[in-house]
């Protein structure tokens, strides 16, 4: 019972913080909304209060602010304002393994989507993503977390470095898909090296007991993404994000030049 009230108290503390953040965001949105045209002709449609693009957002913002305030009051009543300044109250207890693992996955997802996929061949990006997850959660290797953090940070920094130094068109940002042949080639080579180091590290670390686990894991890391890419690009005709990546180029060459599909 004691535990439960502790939990509820913790929950209210989160509510309190979240509501404060949300209210700040809503305040900002309210300011933007008030700058929308309220009257006057726009886009060939005569404007009255009831046609204004601000009408619906304003109603929503007011309702949302009321709801937030009511939750804020509830939270304060139940002791939500305590521990407002402690870091663990914001990011979760850093000594808790589960919390750390969750932040690791979130960071990896961000790296995968914002850096790996737009820079390098989809197969290599996916291999890196899956092998990182399996080393930590499936093989559960010793010191796995520190190793994958180091390797993935290297990959992120390396890819950003390669792309920004080989970028010729200043209007393209890192979030645009890599379309420069040179840059793609170097990104692919670099990612392959990182992927190879992860796999060879896995091979070194696994002992006889989990040899078979290592083998099964290789299927998920190397074979399944390949099958997925073949299915998507040759059956569903979905071009991969980096269309001229090395692996997909080889597959295209095999499929169209050699097999003549």
């Amino acid at each position: 019972m004691q535990n439960k009230t502790m939990d509820a108290n913790k929950g209210r503390q989160y509510d309190f913080k979240f509501m404060l953040v949300l209210l700040c965001v809503l305040g900002g949105l309210l300011k933007i909304t008030l700058s929308f045209p309220m009257s006057g002709s726009y886009g060939g449609v005569e404007n009255q209060w009831y046609v204004s693009p601000a009408l619906f957002p304003l109603v929503l913002l007011i309702l949302l602010i009321l709801c937030c305030l009511s939750l804020l009051v509830t939270a304060i009543k139940q002791g939500g304002a305590q521990e407002f300044l402690s870091i663990s109250g914001w990011l979760g207890n850093k000594d808790n393994q589960q919390v750390r693992e969750r932040w690791l996955i979130i960071a990896l997802l961000i790296a995968y989507v914002y850096v790996y996929i737009p820079s390098t061949d989809f197969y290599l990006a996916t291999g890196l993503f899956v092998s990182t997850l399996t080393s930590v959660f499936y093989l559960k290797l010793a010191r796995a977390k520190s190793v994958v953090i180091v390797l993935n940070s290297m990959a992120v920094l390396g890819l950003i470095l390669i792309r920004s130094s080989l970028n010729q068109d200043p209007s393209l940002s890192l979030l645009d898909i890599n379309a420069n042949d040179q840059s793609i080639l170097w990104c692919d080579v670099f990612t392959t090296c990182v992927l190879a180091s992860i796999i060879s590290w896995q091979a070194l670390m696994t002992n006889k007991l989990n040899r078979s686990q290592f083998g099964i894991q290789l299927i998920a890391v190397l074979i399944v993404p390949l099958l997925l890419i073949i299915a998507f690009s040759f059956l569903l005709f979905v071009p991969m994000p980096v269309e001229y990546g090395s692996v997909i180029n080889v597959l295209n060459w095999l499929a169209y030049e050699q097999l003549g599909l």
Binding site: F18, G43, V45, L109, V113, Y114, F122, F137
Partner: protein
Amino acid sequence: MIEQFTHFFSILINLISSPTNIIILFVASFLGIIFGAMPGLTATLGVALLTALTYSLGADTALLGLLGMYVGAIYGGSYPAILINIPGTPAAAATAMDGYPLTQKGLAGKALGLTTTASFIGTIIGLLFLVTLSPLIASLALQFTSWEFFLLALLGIILSGSLTSPDLVVKGWIAGLIGLLLATIGRDALQFFPRYTFDVPELDSGLEIVPVLIGAFGIPQVIRALTNTHHVKPPIFTGSILPELKSITRNIKHIFRSATIGVGVGAVPGVGEDIAGWVSYSTAKKTSSKAQQAEFGKGSETAIVSSETANNACVGGALIPLLTLGIPGSPPAAMLLGALLLHGITPGPSIEIDHPNFLLEVTAIMVLASFAMWANGLLLAKQVIKVLQLPTALFIPVVGVLCILGAYALNLNMFSLYLMIPIGIVAFLLGEMKFPISPMVIGLVLGGMADESLRRALLLSEGSFMPIFERPVALLLVLVMTVFILAQFSWFKRLFSFEGKK
């Protein structure tokens, strides 16, 4: 009438007498289920793909493939919803609420069997409406002007208020309002004014539903499944996939009501399967007894039956305005319209002049498609459950990749992914703080319609709200809404039960 029946059967027999047709039907239905089951690949995309592949075939055979795909894809979305709590299509989002708890209890097979049969019955009931009442429903659909669209959206929003948080009621409202606010991002439909786009051209067309859906449901699930400290494997399912007759008859009331809702929602132009599932789910909850209501969200049979019947009945509903007026009732139906045009068939009021008996032909094809779906479904369900036996830590990373690839494949847009990740993270944090996620997604689906229709309606009436009380359908919607709102208050309930006892 009898002549129609004999004609119907002659078409049916004609269709199944060709083995190629049967093969195409089953393959298309199978592919449809796979499409629906992959997060991100939707019925619309499947129909689009098959349109190209069936271009060289005859119109009948092509339609057999296309409708097989459509029905299969709407059904297939329930697989990942039930098994891993990630709805494969927006239509199956409501199914996840109760399907996944059933899986955790080790009843995945039962849940799949139930949804398969419910989907089948739903499609057939939708068809019955299509054949018998399509002129009537079409004329009813034409009663929907901007006011009715607005009220329908509002009703959906109020209904979703019943999907509240396990913690505090107000949290559900906050999530719903955030969803509605997300729907206002992009160019406003009336004046083309950019709202909250921050000069990012990609935001101009607003947020896509599918990446948001996958972000909001898929990413939190990936994070949670991998880091769950106590790995409880769901018990292996041993029973029969084919549901007992008893569980069907027990829910017969809900099946019929849900099918009617599905047909109705489908017939309204532009409103599709996703909304049908939610509306039916909430209505089932509202009309259940107290004991049953407590089961909702924890693995209620009634809940999954209701949402799955409705989203499949919606297919028949969506075909009604398509065939009688040439107006597609849902996004996949819009793609179907394109496919029909490609084959030189123009659906609409002139269809009976150009292609007599086309309606009967479509019905016959739909009957076959739903049989194929049922048969495929029962065969597949047994195999699909085996996925649960795979080690989570190996299986979930692949699911994560699939979610990302699926969201990308929908419109080949990296921006969808850039949006999906923050939404996923926010949804995960909201979930940790015990905010329900579903109202957010419903808000996003309905928000645009509510906003645009309200303002257009006011533009037409020059700022007056009077037309609501002059239009019969609008008045009916207002009435239903009032009853739902009043039912929240205990004095109203007492009033009712008191009268009931008399």
